[in-house]
Amino acid sequence: MTIDQLQAAAANNLWAAITPEIALGVLALLLLVLEMILPKARHAVIPACAIAGQLGILAALALNFTATPYLDRDTFNGLLHHSRDGQFLRVFFLLSSILVSILGVVALARQKMPRVEFFHIVLVVTAAMMLLAQSANFVLLFVALETITVGFYILVSYTRTNPLSLEAGLKYLVLGALSSAILLFGIVLLYGVAGNPHSFGSTASPMSYAGVRQFLEANPDNFLASVGIVFVLAGIAFKIGAVPFQIWIPDVYQGAPTPVTAFLAVASKAAGFAVLIGLLPVFQPYAGLVTAVLSIMAGATILFGNLAALTQHNVKRLLGLSGVSHAGYLLMGVVAAQTVPQAIGAIYFYLFAYLLASFAVFAVMTHVAGVNDADQDLDHYADFAKKRPYLAGVLAIGLGSLAGIPPLAGFMGKLMVFIAAFKAGLYPLLAIAIVGVVLSIYYYFGWIKAAFFTTWRPPLAPGEIEPAEAAATPVGFPAGLALGVLAAGSVIFGFFQGPIAAWLLLR
């Protein structure tokens, strides 16, 4: 490279374009500094700083939402592409990290654990997710994805005194490394065939989305490229928990601390879908292959998730497996998105509704959980509506929205995805999806039933005393406010989707 080329390349490094990501990184480091300089008694302000800082970044991001000058531009020599979807996903990931931080405060109060690192890692992972959503290059994709995954290895096994948490961390580590390897292998195959100067239509930049696409267009039936595409899809399928790469989900979801489970369920899954949607135009010349792979996955994922969730009693496992089925509905939307552009907006609205509902449910679970975070059973919700009516109300709204019941936001998301799938003519998948929705009613309403309907208890044997109930975690102000906002959001976006839906769907 000559000096001129390097200078031209450096001139394209517009650091201001990634201000939110940099701000998150600085905030993360600042937390560690604060831990060193503040006296131990004052450490309680650090999580508050983390949340306040994120709120500030969120506000700045919202103000510059459409005003940012980098919209529809490539920066960092094509490593990043800034788009409206990218802006939406930035807000999405930031919202989830704020909620995870709030839940983290509640959950960590019960554990004797270092506090600050939790928030630090959450912030770093979030910044990586934001970059991932805007990446336009396989190298950045892999680096960002690995940053996320490594962060999650630590977060999943965060309660290191709990063997289940450690087991979950190990499982996630082994299977996560395997999936990263598969993904990397796929990327390398694509790189190899696209960058081979002897092959027809080879490209000078075989790591960039544009370059790979150019090669695939010129070679619509290259065997190695097909294998590479399938491997890349498989690697992403692991992140979103699609069948047959869902085996890790129940154990990891159960073992991980509840806020981390929520982070995995919402943000990590959304990140996977962001990558998938970003890659759709790249793999467009192989649309037949992609459709075949994703359709089979979607159908199997919907059925497996719902059937497996039917018999669960541990609510974390239940939510994990029901989350698998949600990945299936979303995959159906991705298949549709190949021919119906509106489907992309439908997927994002679905994810947004899923965020509201999932965090509502996970927030309630965080307040119900005892010291052993992995032990959360349906039986713990007996007489819940009488004992804690506020939490029970939020839980009912969250579960109803997850089940896709009008007038809640989750229903609107499902409707949009179903309409898109219908437009794309995916009738067999729609039939499977209907079976899935009806099955899901059983376990979602089974949970509502456990919380609301009066339960019969065996009378006490003579001499037996009523087992003392574990002290319930009180609902503090920030968590209570978050719960209220999430529940209200699910209801309001069910009735009135307003400009958000119009903005997402118009394309």
Binding site: V437, F445, K449, A502
Partner: protein, 496 residues
């Protein structure tokens, strides 16, 4: 005043929200009462303002954008035509009766119970006021969810099982009809859920006959499950048996009519070429299954609420037969019968709870001689049963008559079989009257009545019952008040 329709939906919802605010019970009851009364008053007022021969077109039209207008073609589009008006009035009247009955009941956690009923009421008003197919579905689900919780929390025997079964069945029906509605939206190329635009689009022949056939099949089964079409009826008697009385009144009386209304207002006019393929099956299931088979099952019931539940399943058979007949007389009869059946079955569920409070049982074998202690209750119950059998002078008679006349042109055999169903109704209806109110006092009832002497109907129970009875009699003696708008609407929609 076009916004009145929106108000009739928003008022109960607002009242339900207000009930969440801690306040003395009397104040909350008052708020709930307003929430129930406003929709009923609006419905009656709009009925009086409805142009006598203007049933064919929509009136009181208003339109609101919820953010999906440009992208999905969904708007909150409200208005009433001659088919929607009677059902809108029905929803208002039965809602008021059920609400008043609930307010005077001694249910546990009464504010929550009233709040859920109010949400259900809002959904019911919305279903029949919607001119947008999407919101028609949306409001149905809004009304359905409270039913699940009410059955599960305030229900009677087997409530947990009944609530789950009811919800799973009804979700299946709703999902099938949703896919059918999306299919109409998509295959017609209209890309809008607005009923009028859909109609225009399809009149130009944009929906192929084979598509119409498939979609009608989907809607028939989907809506059929919601209306308890044989053999998808098993949720109904079980659910109604377990449901608290006001929820059963609203569900059996009004919400269940959603499926029939959807068939008449949406499926038949939009899919004329798909109907012919299915009417044979529909008539067979309706007459052979709902009327005759379920008729005999009803005779065998000992439990009063189960008997009313099965009888309502049986009466849906007549409605399906009228739809299968697919002519103006038959369809007009179905709309009239939907209103009449809604009023009479709501009255029966109300009275059965009043009977339970006096006998402490729903088992009719353990009752007897209640008429001596509660003559007014007996008079009400006898009238309600007579209405349900189809005695002239009460609303149901006109509906059933028109259905039979319409169905005769369709098939004489099915009509004859269906008419013989009236005898079955008479058998179980009159037998239940005899068992509950007349004959010797059973030892079980004697024991109950010595512990707590049964009183006659109190005003709190009498007033809602009177409301329903007055409506039944008014329509029975003056059917033209409803049949004129229905007739003009049906004739204009089905020109054949």
């Amino acid at each position: 005043m076009p916004d009145l329709l929106l108000l009739s939906i928003a008022a109960p919802l607002a009242a339900a929200l207000l009930l969440l605010v801690p306040a003395p019970l009397a104040a909350r009851k008052f708020i709930a009462g307003i929430g129930f009364a406003l929709p009923a008053l609006i419905a009656l007022y709009l009925w009086s303002q409805f142009p006598p021969n203007g049933g064919a077109s929509y009136h009181f039209v208003s339109r609101y954008d919820t953010g999906l207008k440009d992208t999905l073609g969904i708007t909150l589009y409200l208005g009433l035509n001659g088919i929607a008006l009677p059902l809108f009035v029905l929803a208002g009247v039965v809602g008021l009766a059920a609400g008043l009955f609930a307010i005077q009941s001694k249910a546990e956690r009464l504010p929550l119970y009233l709040g859920l009923l109010l949400v259900m009421q809002a959904g019911l008003m919305g279903v029949f006021a919607s001119m947008d197919v999407f919101f028609f579905y949306f409001f149905h689900e809004l009304a359905l969810i409270p039913t699940f919780i009410m059955v599960g929390v305030w229900g009677g025997r087997d409530r947990g099982y009944a609530a789950m079964k009811l919800t799973i069945y009804l979700t299946l029906g709703a999902m099938l009809s949703l896919i059918g509605l999306i299919a109409i939206y998509q295959q017609s190329g209209a890309e809008t859920f607005d009923l009028l635009s859909l109609r225009q689009e399809i009149e130009h022949g944009s929906l192929a006959a084979s598509d119409q056939k498939t979609i009608f099949g989907l809607l028939m089964v989907g809506f059929g499950i919601l209306v308890s079409l044989f053999p998808f009826h098993t949720w109904a008697p079980l659910g109604y048996g377990a449901a608290p009385s006001s929820a059963a009144m609203l569900h059996a009386g009004v919400l269940k009519k959603f499926g029939l209304y959807g068939l008449i207002q949406i499926a038949l006019p939009l899919l004329p070429e798909g109907v012919g393929h299915w009417v044979g099956w529909l008539a067979l299931l309706a007459v052979g299954g709902n009327v005759l088979y379920i008729g005999f099952v009803t005779i065998a019931q000992r439990d009063l609420k189960q008997m009313i539940g099965y009888s309502s399943v049986m009466h849906m058979g007549y409605a399906f037969l009228g739809i299968a007949a697919y002519n103006t007389t038959g369809l007009g009869g179905v709309v009239l019968m939907m209103v009449a059946h809604g009023l009479s079955v709501a009255l029966l569920f109300l009275l059965s709870t009043s009977i339970y409070h006096r006998t402490q049982t729903f088992d009719m074998e353990e009752m007897g001689g209640l008429a001596q202690k509660a003559p007014v209750l007996a008079a009400f119950f006898v009238t309600a049963i007579m209405a349900s059998i189809g005695l002239p002078g009460l609303a149901n008679f006109w509906g059933e008559l028109a259905i039979f006349v319409g169905a005769w042109k369709f098939s004489a055999v099915y009509t004859t079989l269906a008419v013989s169903g009236v005898i079955i109704s008479a058998v179980y209806g009159l037998r239940s009257v005899a068992r509950i109110f007349f004959g010797p006092v059973t030892p079980a009832f004697a024991k109950v009545s010595t512990e707590k002497a049964p009183t006659d109907l109190a005003w709190g129970e009498k007033f809602p019952a009177l409301l329903l009875l007055a409506a039944l009699l008014a329509i029975g003696f003056w059917p033209k008040s409803l049949s004129t708008p229905v007739d003009t609407a049906i004739t204009a929609t089905f020109r054949k």
